[in-house]
Amino acid sequence: MREFGYERVFDVSGAVALLGADPDARFLGGGTNLVDLMKAGVERPARLIDVRELPLDGVEFTRDGGLRIGATVTNSDLAAHPEVRRHYPALAQAVLAGASGQLRNMATVGGNLLQRTRCGYFTDLSKPCNKRAPGSGCPALTGEHHNHAILGASEHCVATHPSDMAVALAAFDAVISYETADGPGELPIADFYLPVGDTPHIETALPPGALITGVTLPPAPVAAHSRYRKVRERASYAFAIGSIAAALDVQDDVIREVRLAFGAVASRPWRARAAERVLTGGPASAEAFAAAADAELAGAEPLAENGYKVTLIRNLVVAVLTELTEEADR
């Protein structure tokens, strides 16, 4: 582990300037991912710039009735926030389904969005990995990949994005705001995570040196009736092998609006737009849910050992949408 400097910053422009001045510096949120990667030798920053004292720890309504969440809000505070629980319950559930109480107390929204994959090759310097060492190869393709991607992957990398929170954010069309030396900017979550292609080491469209300042959830009445369901290999404290964030508005047995996003199936949270199109305006029935899932999963390209995810996601879509429908009926 390399020796590194540590600095705490108190204002956004100072943070951006400090990082810009040192290409070997990294922002430090809760450190729950970055510090682990430093211990594994995957990250070797010369300087950590601790952003937790920045004035970015609030959750407030936007003028149009959406929610703006500061980048340094902890995962615990986000999940406990009454407005989040009321208007975007799937987001609170997703955050609570992640990591452990101690980790959520440390982890921040910004850090959660930028956490790296849990692919076992990525964190092991003794093994090749295109994401860590571009061009070295992807041993997961023929090796251990039972929790790797089935959608949108490439021959260069089949890793998944591990965040639960981001899956709910994808379902709710979150917009990520950032600050650079050249001023502020915004990216809708659909554009935030880049396709894998042949550059798996470049994961987001954030400009170099950008500080994430917050996440904005546009108003979405459908989100109030939403759910996050996560399947993992133990009851707690494990990453998803498949998850779904769903929101449903059914009236007179017709689906007025539906939001669906999948986790642990791709290099980014997977917004299931094809499934949404199939469902919108149609009946809320188990058959329709299954057909919608099939439409989305038609493009799945499972590897030798992860085909079960297709079944799992399909079953989750049917189960969670059925639950939401039944609750709407009550």
């Binding site: 003794s126 133990r234 009851a235 707690s236 079944t311």
Partner: protein, 712 residues
């Protein structure tokens, strides 16, 4: 002050609940563990492990690393002190991995190739990670599967009888009304105690002094003496507090490396393993591929019994995971066959991981029994009762005591087994299918020679010295209670000192033998002291000490089948649409001799049962065929049960007197694990109608099985 034993004799400490005598020190942080004990002039060593699975070291580029800040030395095969590995120790020939830095051969990923020593642990780590080692690689084989062409039957392995055989198996199978013939697998599993392995070595007035975290200081001291060709009296090993062992804390390369480095540098050197290094250096449980054939009459009586178990070992050392030993104790049949086979692969040598042999073996055997019960249309408990042997099925020896049926009876009553509908796949609660299962458990009750000293101090207290190890089990407390009863005094008056090789030889904490072995030695010494004190008279300032050695008494013990027994019960919920399995209840009832301290014994049992739960549902190391190493070798990647996975667990015991045993203790460290995975797998079958013969019962396996069942 003149004191004899109490005026009114106090007994009854054994069998009543006592909190750990060092509990307060542990929860307040006052208890120091091996890596926390300060030494002046301490230097820190960091091991560098090979990244190739087979080959030779071409070069170790130590020059640039020696120039790094704080680096004191880099030890490797070209410059390290020589050690002697051609000897026979307490457990046979040493694992060649202890002969670190003696040659350029690399037999697996994780073989130690260098030790970097620096002023601080951070400097040592940074330098170790910068050290470039070049290899001439050779092709490797790390693929374990049933029927590997390299499989062989181990011959003359002092630790195991590879094969037992009686009767005509094929004939009895042919004559059987019901036959079960199935294959079961268990994966590579790792024991990772919370406290990583750590050792500090220094030379102190001509003696080698090692402060360690181990399961037996006699054992570690004697091996170090042999490795470094030292007079045994000139080696002292201490291990005051140990944060878990599970079979992994014997002698490993880090202790040897620390001794080498202190010898070279003439200052204390500490070597601590990282979590990832533990996955390569401290042993693990071999994967197993087992085939079981059972043939029975329609009423369930066994005619044929065949258990064949294949496991792996390294290319440098032979270790057998003795999965097939259970049947030699549990079930008799007209034809009876048990066999162990081994495959040599380019992987580290496996070792004893809690309930070695019995843990994977019981998964296969107790699952097969359940399958036989299903085929016979019998209750699984009734099937076991029908096949209860009078004497050891292979040895013909009498049992010292065997109360497995009493365990089933008590367990069935408490679990509500009588109301169980045996048909699978019938009970539903929302998205969950529910089922229950049971399995038998057994583990050998062994004993090893030990010495102890008990001193009556002038101030009216007593000091017990025994080279025992408390690896979190409560051994120190147990010895306090045993001594209190033998001396007929209150436990408060007793101070037990353990884990110091200068106290004289004693058994290590392993094989569920520690408490029985140490209690025997402590009892004999305390009995003698009590008799001496009964004569009256003043106690001199240096106290009065009685000593014991149980070697002869153990030799004189009548040959019998000596084992603990138990019955495991589980209730599970399975969602076949997501593959999730949740254990809702576990109940274990044991017949395990005298229970010294019910409080810590219960912890041992439920800890073992939780271990079995993890084995059933979670634990599995993934070996990467391409590199020969592991993928995800850390506690985020290697799963075991989290708190949320652990349900209501109850553990209790039935009376189990052992009339011919002077202490009556059988040992409880491992039996809690045995049978749990089978009880859970049997419950999963009862819930879903699908048999899971490959562990762990992961969601993807449940999903695939459900798909298969739907398509069929």
């Amino acid at each position: 002050m003149t004191t004899t034993t109490g005026i009114a004799a106090v007994t009854g400490a054994v069998g009543s609940a006592h909190t750990r005598v060092e509990g307060r020190d542990k929860v307040t942080g006052a208890a120091r563990y091996a890596a926390e004990i300060p030494f002046a002039e301490l230097a820190h060593g960091w091991l560098v492990l090979s990244t190739v699975a087979r080959g030779r070291i071409r070069s170790v580029d130590d020059a640039p690393v020696l120039a790094m800040p704080g680096v004191l030395t880099v030890l490797h095969h070209r410059n390290a002190p020589r050690v002697e590995t051609d000897y026979v120790g307490m457990l046979g020939r040493p694992n060649p991995v202890l002969g670190i830095f003696q040659h350029d051969r690399v037999p697996f990923v994780g073989w130690p190739v260098a030790l970097v020593v620096a002023e601080t642990s951070e400097q040592a780590r940074e330098a170790a990670e910068a050290l470039v080692v070049r290899y001439d690689e050779e092709p490797h084989d790390v693929a374990f599967f049933a029927g590997h062409p390299g499989a062989y039957t181990p011959q003359n392995n002092p630790m195991v009888q590879a094969e037992t055989e009686k009767g005509d198996l094929e004939a009895q199978l042919g004559a059987s009304a019901v036959v079960v013939d199935e294959e079961y697998t268990t994966p590579e599993e790792h024991h990772n105690p919370m406290e990583p392995h750590a050792a500090t070595a220094r030379w102190d007035g001509g003696r080698l002094d090692v402060v360690d975290s181990n399961q037996g200081s006699t054992w570690v001291a004697s091996e170090l003496a042999k490795l470094f060709s030292l007079d045994p009296a000139s080696v002292r090993v201490r291990s005051e507090h140990v944060g878990g062992g599970f079979g992994s804390k014997g002698l490993s390369p880090h202790q040897v490396a620390a001794v080498m480095a202190t010898t070279v540098l003439h200052r204390p050197v500490r070597v601590v393993l990282t979590r990832r290094q533990m996955f390569y250096l401290v042993g693990f449980r071999s994967p197993t591929a087992q085939r079981i054939r059972l043939g029975a009459d329609a009423d369930g009586r066994l005619r044929a019994f065949d258990h064949q178990a294949q496991s792996l070992t390294s290319t440098v050392h032979e270790f057998v995971e003795t999965s097939a030993v259970l049947g030699r104790v549990m079930y008799d049949a007209d034809a009876h066959h048990t066999l162990h086979r081994l495959v040599r692969l380019d992987v580290p040598t496996p070792a004893w991981m809690r309930a070695p042999g019995e843990a994977p073996g019981s998964f296969a055997l107790e699952s097969a029994l359940d399958e036989l019960a299903e085929k016979c249309g019998m209750d699984p408990i009734a099937l076991r009762a029908r096949n209860e042997p009078e004497t050891g099925p292979v040895s013909g020896l009498p049992f010292s005591s065997r109360n497995v049926l009493a365990c089933f009876e008590e367990g069935a009553r408490r679990f509500g087994w009588a109301d169980r509908d045996p048909r699978p796949g019938l009970r539903r609660e929302g998205r969950w299918l529910l089922g229950t299962g049971t399995a038998a458990a057994t583990y050998p009750s062994g004993v090893g020679p030990s010495t102890a000293a008990v001193t009556a101090e002038a101030d009216g207290t007593f000091t017990v010295r025994i080279n025992a190890a408390d690896i979190g089990t409560g051994a120190r407390t147990a010895m306090t209670l045993v001594a209190a009863d033998a001396l007929e005094v209150d436990p408060d008056r007793i101070r037990v000192r353990i884990a110091d090789s200068d106290f004289g030889p004693a058994m290590f904490a392993g094989g569920s033998m520690g408490t029985r072995s140490w209690a025997w030695a402590v009892t004999i010494a305390a009995d003698e002291l009590r008799e001496r004190l009964a004569l009256g008279g003043a106690i001199p300032p240096e106290g009065i000490t009685a000593r014991s050695n149980t070697a002869e008494a153990i030799d004189a013990l009548a040959k019998k089948e000596r084992h603990s027994f138990g019955a495991q019960f589980s209730e599970v919920a399975v969602d076949v649409t997501t593959g999730e399995v949740r254990v809702r209840r576990l109940l274990g009832i044991y017949a395990a001799g005298t229970i010294v301290n019910p409080l810590t014994a219960r912890s041992q049992f439920i800890g073992g049962m939780t271990w079995g739960l993890s084995m059933a549902l979670h634990e599995e190391a993934i070996r990467d065929q391409a590199s020969g190493g592991l993928v995800g070798a850390d506690l985020a990647g290697y799963h075991f049960a989290a708190h949320a996975d652990v349900p209501l667990i109850e553990a209790d015991w039935v009376d189990d007197p052992v009339p011919d045993d002077p202490v009556g203790i059988k040992g409880i460290g491992e039996i809690g694990v045995v049978g749990v995975a089978a009880a859970i797998a049997n419950a999963v079958w009862h819930a879903t109608g699908v048999r899971h013969r490959n562990l762990p019962i992961r969601p993807d396996r449940v999903l695939r099985a459900a798909e298969g069942a739907r398509r069929a």
